[in-house]
Symmetry: C2
Subunit: 206 residues, 2 copies
């Protein structure tokens, strides 16, 4: 029975680092961006469009309408979003069936609960979070070239925006509150944690 | 530098079991009821009265007044509660200074943060929670003689009442939300966990 670890994470909390390192430590596959490639193969939509949908930018997706009823367009786009959600479910279930893996984001915790209850997989749902102060520090240290001019205040704004998008997407998809501890097996606060040093011990939990 | 593990817990989630077992596994002292004995020795109040205060039964403590202004009595009792809170802080700080230990409940997480920030101790703050279904099941299996006639519905009512008292006490003392994941290093959901089997692995985290 495949062990599957899903990781939900606040932006800048080190959730992705924890996922990559856990997968390495346990010899599991690691899936993050690969899910989008999977959805591309399961649908007729472009990668850019899918990315906007799964990153929660719904306002960016719904286009201006000229000479058409808004209702029709909204329905059309909601249908597209439902297509993508369905493909996402299929892709994630296929990944969990194929091998032991760590899956970051994409409501994988919710999607795989049914398979876990049926006894087809053994699911561990993690959520990684940290104080705003520690997340800003982490993101400032890891700034990309494009982010070079950003101040701490800009970074905090970006963190809040991305978290809000993640929360919206998660709630739309699952009707649950994003990050509510009752939906996860373990929540790690990384504010005072050196992730790299903790991985061998965290890996033993699974 | 003493490592101190504090455990906040929902009633019936197995937080106490986890505390006892972790202390055993790590060779730490374990404190729970001992804190009340400590407060008795630090104040002039009876154990029964202290227990009512620290278990959050504020309504039970404030007595009916005959022929006196209510305001005066409320002030008097608030002063008593402040005395007890102060003694609780002293007792918990003394415990943390004396030896490596696990402390269950009593806002110890909040009380010891200052010592942790000063570098006097190394503090790990845990919160243990579980689904209502799993907590009712756990409490029904472990019914005391006095609880023998209780139905699952009665048990759920008792769980909600005790959690409410714990939450009130914690919020009065700390001005924080009880059980909010950001106040803890790790939150464990024990709904699908056999605590006994997990202890050797959880202990390695510290």
């Amino acid at each position: 029975m495949n062990r599957i670890i899903t990781i939900g994470r606040e932006f800048g909390s080190g959730g992705r680092e924890m996922g990559v390192r856990l997968a390495n430590e346990l010899g599991f596959d690691y899936y993050d961006k690969e899910i989008i490639t999977g959805i591309v193969n399961h649908t007729e939509y472009t990668e850019g469009y899918i990315r906007e949908v799964v990153e929660g930018n719904v306002r960016k997706i719904l286009p201006m309408t000229i000479g058409r009823s808004l209702d029709v367009d909204v329905d059309y786009h909601i249908r597209q979003m439902q297509d993508i959600a369905k493909a996402q479910t299929e892709v994630i279930k296929e990944m969990a069936e194929k091998s032991e893996c760590v899956i970051v984001g994409r409501c994988a915790d919710f999607i795989l609960e049914e398979e876990n209850e049926k006894g087809n997989i053994q699911l561990f749902k993690l959520f990684i979070h940290a104080s705003m102060e520690s997340r800003v520090r982490r993101c400032m240290e890891r700034r990309t070239e494009a982010e070079a001019g950003m101040t701490e205040k800009d970074m905090e704004k970006q963190i809040r925006r991305i978290d809000k998008e993640r929360a919206n997407y998660y709630t739309n998809y699952t009707l649950r509150k994003w990050g509510a501890k009752e939906n996860y097996d373990i929540c790690f606060n990384t504010s005072n944690m050196v992730i790299k040093d903790m991985i061998p011990y965290i890996a033993r939990l699974f």
